[in-house]
Structures are given as structure tokens and as C-alpha cells.
Point group: C2
Chain length 400, copies 2
């Protein structure tokens, strides 16, 4: 089955807002084994919607639309579909009654514009909206054996109603055709080389590492590839799903009953923020000292004044003393630290932009790694936070 996703909204074609609905719908369809020919985004213009709907119906078996089902004058998807397929719009009496009651309760007029949210193309199957007011629908075009699934643009409504649509269409099971390995420690090119015998893959690099998507049309083939890659990539893999490094590290800390703190300079609290992103992190995270100014490194973390003056804040001993200082101050089992130059200015020949010392104090030793990252300021800082968390992950795994 071939599908096209039609996203409707002038905010997207004018470049004012990032459409994220198409990504969500595409992923769900792909996981159900449906080929997506295209994602077409067009404006709130009845002529454009009709034009691209006709193109979509010509090129695909099923068209999912999102957007333009609301109560403003810009919401024209219902009318455009009705005109494009030559079928009148009629009221769904049940939904009309529900809307009438809802608006009465809220003390609002039940205007013509609000009424239109209960309209459907003749003989369409309604998809009730469990969150909002716009009714969605599935319209089957019997003569050409095609279908249109019309969903709202509000992400929470779209997501809930897509699920209902899948039920109506008999697409209940995820077929599990996609697998994700999230890796840290090797470049995109290295991961590509390491997987050169693997077809049907997509490699995605970001400051958080390299994501490797594996897909296939048959589950057995996919499972074989997953087993091979799990073995081959080993500890480079930090997650096998859309899981963040801080969740992985948090789980390890919790399992082992360890506590942690951070002493941050370049990252400015980003490592701590990420640790706290995880619900329940109070079980292992005590706190952090962000020592952006040298006086804070010296006065609070007790970094040696002479080292700061002679070697500079961006040096191995300072990274080491920051980690050890916060570990002692906050009385934790582990501590992570960083000191470096995130740029864009402040670099020198000896200490270029991107240079960082990343420290990890453990119950028995302190390890400091020197890294030089490239990229923009905040990408570099994100890389540093990822590297620090990964150091801890590898250390905790080795303890097993």
C-alpha cells in the first residue's frame, strides 16, 4: 500500500513554524509496512489543497491529511476534499449535538463556523475527537479503491485520532520493521565502515553521537541484523531505542545505589539539567556546582589557586580538582566535571576553541579525559555533556 501525507497550514509554507506531524505520521506508517511516496505540505488555500489532494490521490492508495479542520475561516480542508472528490458535506448529527452542548456549557455561541466542525463528506466514517472539537473522518472512494483520512493539525488530537483511524483501517499491529541503535564514541564515517555489509540502514549523526536505524521488510532479516550489530558494536551502543544517555546512566546509578554530583564550567549546568530530565533522579542526584567564574572554582570547589593562575582554568589539574571538590562537598559516590573553551572566541594556539578536560571522580580514582570538539558553541557543550555521561556509563558497565 502506498501513502501520501498532506499537511495543511500556511504557517509551514511561510516557514514560520516547523511541522512535526508529518514525522509522526510517517514513522507510524513506516512501522506498519506502508510505503510513503511523499509528504506534501501546502497552504490554507482551497485551490492549493484541492490541487495537491488530487495529485496525492493519483499517486497513492491512501492519503492522510492533517490540519484545516477547525472553526476559523482559514480551515478549509473539509470543503477542499468535498469539492475535489465531488461529494457534498453533510452534518453528523451526533457530533453536532455534542458540540451544541459543549458550547452551551462554556457559555459560548454556537456559530456557523463552529457548526462546520461537525460536517463530513457524504458517506464518510467519522473519527471522533477525544480531545478537541473538530471531527475527523475516513472517506473511502469505492470506484478507485482509495481512501482519504482527514485529521486535525493539533498534535495531541492528530495522534489520538490516527490511532483510531488505524483501528478502523484494520492496521492494529506494529510490524516492528525498524530498529534503532544509539551509539557514542565513533564518527559517522566509522559507523558507516563498521556496518558496510548491512543494507537498509540510515545513519544520523548529532552532538549526542551516531544513531543507526536498521529496517527491513521481513522481521527475521531484521532480527538477524540486530543480533550481528549488537555483537559488533558492543559498548559503543548506549541505547537500543529512543532513550537518552541520562536515562541509561540514571538506571545504572539507581541499580547500584550510587549517588552523583557535577562541577561544571563550560557546560554551565547542562549535565545536571540532563540528569534531572529523568523522573525519579532524586534517588541518585544530589546537586551541582556551576563554577563559571574562577573565584567559584577556588572558593567553593577548593581548586588550587596556583594551578588556576599558572595552568589556567582549562587544564587537567583543574578538571581533576573540580570533580574531586564537588564529590567531597556534596558527599557523593561519583562526580563529573568539565572545564573548556566552548567558543566562539577565547581560543588560543595552545588552547583552541573546543578543548575540554572532562573529569570523573569515582570511589577509588579520578580520571580526566582531554577532548577537542568542533562545531558551534552549544553543540560543543552538548557533546561535552554527552561525553561526560558516557564516561560514567562505561565505568559503571565495567564494574559488572
Amino acid at each position: 500500500m502506498k501513502a501520501i501525507i498532506l499537511i495543511i497550514g500556511s504557517e509551514f509554507t511561510k516557514g514560520l513554524k516547523q511541522d512535526k506531524n508529518s514525522l509522526f505520521i510517517a514513522k507510524k506508517l513506516f512501522q506498519k509496512g506502508i510505503d510513503i511516496e511523499a509528504i506534501i505540505t501546502t497552504s490554507d488555500d482551497i485551490y492549493n489543497i484541492q490541487t495537491f489532494l488530487k495529485i496525492a490521490l493519483d499517486k497513492a492508495d491512501i492519503v492522510f491529511t492533517s490540519g484545516g479542520l477547525g472553526a476559523t475561516s482559514d480551515d478549509l480542508t473539509r470543503e477542499a476534499i468535498s469539492e475535489a472528490i465531488g461529494v457534498p458535506l453533510i452534518f453528523n448529527e451526533d457530533w453536532l449535538k455534542k458540540l451544541k452542548e459543549d458550547y452551551k456549557k462554556a457559555g459560548l455561541d454556537f456559530t456557523e463556523e463552529r457548526k462546520k466542525m461537525a460536517k463530513l463528506p457524504y458517506n464518510a466514517k467519522p473519527i471522533e475527537n477525544p480531545i478537541g472539537k473538530a471531527l475527523g473522518f475516513i472517506k473511502v472512494l469505492d470506484d478507485v479503491q482509495k481512501a482519504i483520512v482527514a485529521l486535525p493539525g493539533v498534535p495531541s488530537e492528530m495522534k489520538a485520532m490516527l490511532k483510531i483511524a488505524f483501528d478502523y483501517l484494520g492496521l492494529k499491529e506494529d510490524k516492528g520493521f525498524v530498529y534503532l541503535f544509539r551509539t557514542y564514541g565513533k564518527s559517522e564515517i566509522k559507523i558507516d565502515e563498521l556496518t558496510k555489509d548491512i543494507d537498509k540502514k540510515i545513519i544520523n549523526a548529532s552532538p549526542k553521537g551516531v544513531d543507526l536505524f536498521i529496517y527491513d521488510n521481513a522481521k527475521e532479516f531484521l532480527e538477524n541484523k540486530v543480533a550481528v550489530l549488537r555483537e559488533r558494536l558492543g559498548n559503543l551502543i548506549y541505547a537500543e531505542d529512543e532513550i537518552e544517555m541520562e536515562e541509561v546512566v540514571g538506571k545504572l546509578l539507581k541499580e547500584k545505589g550510587y549517588t552523583i554530583s557535577t562541577a561544571e564550567s563550560s557546560t554551565g549546568g547542562m549535565i545536571a539539567t540532563r540528569i534531572v530530565n529523568v523522573p525519579g533522579s532524586s534517588a541518585y542526584f544530589k546537586g551541582s556546582v556551576v563554577s563559571y567564574a574562577n573565584e567559584v572554582k577556588e572558593n567553593i570547589l577548593k581548586v588550587n589557586k596556583e594551578d588556576l593562575e599558572k595552568l589556567g582554568a582549562v587544564s587537567e589539574p583543574v578538571g581533576r580538582q573540580m570533580a574531586e571538590g564537588v564529590k567531597k562537598l556534596l558527599n557523593t559516590d561519583f562526580a563529573l566535571s568539565d572545564t573548556g573553551i566552548a567558543g566562539p572566541t577565547g581560543g588560543t594556539k595552545e588552547k583552541p576553541v573546543g578543548l575540554h578536560y572532562i573529569g570523573m571522580a569515582t570511589p577509588s580514582e579520578t580520571i580526566v579525559e582531554k577532548v577537542i570538539f568542533s562545531g558551534e558553541r552549544n553543540d560543543i557543550r552538548l557533546r561535552v555533556s554527552q561525553h561526560a555521561l558516557n564516561m560514567l556509563r562505561l565505568y559503571l558497565l565495567k564494574q559488572n
Copy 2:
């Protein structure tokens, strides 16, 4: 002039990656007064690329493609364009020579696949790639008075080459048809009400506040609307461009020569991280104490033990003492603090999920605001950080 953007990449149609290039290109085109009929995203399939390129050429005067110009077997845009318009591909000798030298220097073979990055449709104007290796091009179809602009998919390369393409096409000036007000302090519905007499607007709510885009086809109309709204929205506006709250606050602190620190609990360092996002923040930011555990609030920030025990960490006095504690400890002019329940668990009837006390210690007083935010854990935390920074912004503005 009507444009269509054609994004090529199976990672997008399979829902594995968010396409952001179309947003960038659409915004640039819209700002130059070019109407975008549609954004079409299709897979790395030569038949699909041709199909949707032909549709795009039928519906628009100019088609911008992004993606599929690289050296792998999946990169088929060049071939698809050549076949769709019936023109052969030929080598650009200058670029071929440059690539040959580049690969020789890097000690890599100059394979057929790499060579193809120097190919262009016959009589196309090359767009040199200032960052990467894939040559872009503009191909004018004289008989139908249309044009294709082919750009790579790597964002940094696409952006640099789009600029060159605009120069070649004589589209040098931004016509300033769009204006952005970023507001904090009122809901989306309130901003809609406050601007109900303003047409051609797009309202966009996020945890950082409400963005209001105003657009028009004539600059004078737009300027009038901007003047009216600037007056009407007043201090709700924190920026008039794509500027973050931390940049606005940083600029105010720098101008006035003040220093700042933060004491964070629920946000876990997010306020500090955001302050450090701004290059040059060392001029005013000294550091932060993330006191996630109560013992850190008590031992480091000197929050009263009795208050912590009797009133709990999420209370007005604790928020107050955190701000005052870190201001004294790090010796700064101002300090921001927060303590609250980000959820999803930990709420009670008296202290529900979302409840926060946000503190600001100034040179003369300490102000604590009680807020209750709804949403997911990390949205709530982002709201708290935005609210804290906005408190400081309003205070510093009042000082003028």
C-alpha cells in the same frame, strides 16, 4: 513568482529524521516575497524524484531541491533532474579538478561515485560548495521560463549555497514582509484577543511564551501594525526577532554591570545552562548551586533546617533563602532560584505537580512568586526557567 521546495531523502519519508531544511528555505523565500505553493518531501527513489519534480515544475515557476547530490548510490537527484527535463549530465571541469586534488591530498581514491559530484545538467550554472564536495546548480528551462535550483541536503552547505543562488537569481534584498514579537506573560488566547483587529498573523505558543508573527504584502502596512502592537503589548514583548530570553537578560545585565548567580532545584541547572548559552556570559554570570537534595539546600545554601522540615522544600521561605543564599555565597548582585514539583509524580492536594516558588534576590530586596504550571515534566521546567529570567528582565527594565 511561485515556488515549490522539493526535499529528497528516505530518512524523512520513513519518519526517521525531522527535515529542517524546508523550514529554512521557506522562510527565506517568504521573506523575499515569493509564494510557496508547497513543500514536497520524497524518497531517494529516482522514479519518485522525477515524478514530483515534474509536478513541481508544472505548479511553480521555480523549484528548489535539497538532498541527493552526494557520492553514495542513494544520491540520485542529479540523474533524476537530468532525465526529467531531458538534458544530459556533463562534467564541470573546474570542479572535477578541484575534487581530484582534494581527494589526492586526503589520500583517498577518486572513484566514479565521487566524480559524479562534479556533474551538472547541460548548460546549468554551477553553484560552488564552500563547505563540502557536492556541486549545486541552477538550471533555467528557457522554453517554459522556469528554473530548478539544486542544493545539497547537509544544512550548512544548503544554507551557504542558497545565499549564492539568491545572488545569481538577483534576489539580494530581504523585503521584510514578516515581523516577530516574542511575548511572555499571557496565554495564546489572551494574545489572540489582544490582537483580534490584526489580520495576517500567526500565533505560536510554547513553554517559552507566545510568539506572534505579523506579515503583509506591503512594507508600510506591516510597519503600521508593528508600531501599534509594540505600543499595545508593551512589556509582554521580550524580543522582536528570533532572540532568546537569556540573550535579552544577558544584554541588560551587561549594560548595567551587574553579576548574577542561580540556586536551582526543579530546573536542575537549566537557568544556568541557558545563561551560559550566550557567548560572553562570563561578563555577568558567576555560577550556580544546583541543590536537588535538601542536604545541599541546607549545607551549601544555608537554608533553614526547620523551614525545610516543617514547610517542606517546596515553600516560599525555601525559595527565598535559596536565592539569598547563593547571592551571598557567590557574591553577586542578583540571584534567581526555584523550588517546585515538576512531576510526573510527587504531587499532593496541597502541593500539586507544577507548583513552584521562583525567587529573585536583588541588591535591595527578595521577591518570590508562586506559580502553578501544567504540562509535561521538562516543559514545566522550561517554563520555570523562562519565568525566572523574565522576572529579572522586568525588574531590570523598571530600573531605567
